[in-house]
């Protein structure tokens, strides 16, 4: 088991069993697969145990018609890295906002919205972050073939 004892205890509190990954990603102590509605509770416990947000990203799997939301967390003292992966339907990807727990998540969530077209439920700010205000395309989707 790659997962450290510290992380195992944290995840036990979250009511989440550590699962050995078939293909463990290098550098990550643990990769969790969760449902979109579990995210907020999980992140709240992770935050309470001293983890901080590294980034939020996404993967577009065009062939499987799926989209994965990725939450990356780090810990300084325990030198742990943790990834939460949320599988979503590609036609209507929705993630809950965690900007009330980590205020810095807001910009990542805005970026997810413009780059992948993921709707972030409850996000207090849904304006584009990097693209122009009226941009309606999602450039990081795999079927993006240039604007217009």
């Amino acid at each position: 088991m790659m997962t450290g004892r510290f992380l195992a205890r944290v995840l036990e509190k979250a009511g989440c069993a550590c699962r050995e990954l078939e293909t463990p990603s290098p550098g990550f102590a643990c990769q969790l697969e969760a449902q979109a509605d579990e995210v907020v509770g999980l992140v709240r416990i992770i935050a309470a145990n001293g983890f901080f947000l590294e980034s939020i990203s996404a993967v577009d799997r065009l062939k499987e018609k799926k989209m994965d939301g990725l939450y990356l967390f780090n810990h300084y003292e325990e030198s742990q890295r943790l990834m939460i992966r949320i599988e979503m339907d590609r036609s209507n990807p929705v993630l809950p906002t965690i900007s009330k727990i980590f205020p810095g998540a807001l910009w990542y969530e805005r970026e997810l919205g413009e780059m992948f077209g993921i709707r972030v439920a409850g996000c207090p700010d849904t304006r584009n972050l990097l693209l122009e205000e009226d941009a309606k395309f999602h450039p990081l989707r795999k079927d993006f073939r240039g604007r217009a």
């Binding site: 122009e132 941009a135 450039p139």
Partner: protein, 170 residues
């Protein structure tokens, strides 16, 4: 000649214009304004080693209302485009524009089929007087651009051309 990229005035006073243009050519105040890595070369050109002040062009103004030249130094993104246009419109005439670097000329390395966020050349937004190719151009190239602009204003070149570098035949 003196109007730069704006509409020239209806009445010209030829001799007065000449005097003005000589003055303008030797006090081209650029706008403090950089968009990408070309701005580092622009700063270098303004520094003591290349010293744009020799040509009266080292007075970088922090407001467009005091500037004569806009050096578009870097990549113009779609998000930045309205701001570039606004800064240009806030500059009082006569005003000139130098497109510095390949990004400002044509989009440079970002001119791709699936480019979605880079304006392919600042000339699509505002009229450009001098183009400085390079990625990024050396500070000497920017100094040369100011000499070219001087030439455009006064009709004559005040400084001698740089001597040609001897190359092997072949």
């Amino acid at each position: 000649m003196g109007a730069g990229s704006t509409v020239p005035p209806i009445i010209h006073f030829a001799q007065l214009e000449k005097v003005f243009n000589t003055a303008r050519a030797n006090s081209l105040w650029p706008l403090t304004f950089g968009l990408a890595c070309c701005a580092i070369e622009m700063m270098s050109a303004a520094g003591p080693r290349f010293d744009l002040d020799r040509f009266g062009a080292g007075v970088f103004r922090a407001t467009p209302r005091q500037a004569d030249v806009m050096i578009v130094a870097g990549t113009v993104t779609e998000k930045m485009a309205p701001t570039v246009v606004r800064l240009y419109e806030q500059m009082p005439a006569p005003k000139w524009v130098i497109a510095m670097g390949n990004c400002a000329i044509s989009g440079g390395p970002f001119k791709l089929d699936f480019n979605y966020n880079v304006v392919e050349g600042v000339e699509r937004l505002i009229p450009v007087d001098v183009y400085v190719p390079g990625c990024p151009p050396r500070p000497e190239a920017l100094v040369e651009a100011f000499l070219k602009l001087e030439e455009k204003l006064t009709g004559t070149r005040r400084f001698p051309e740089a001597p040609a570098i001897a190359r092997e035949e072949g």
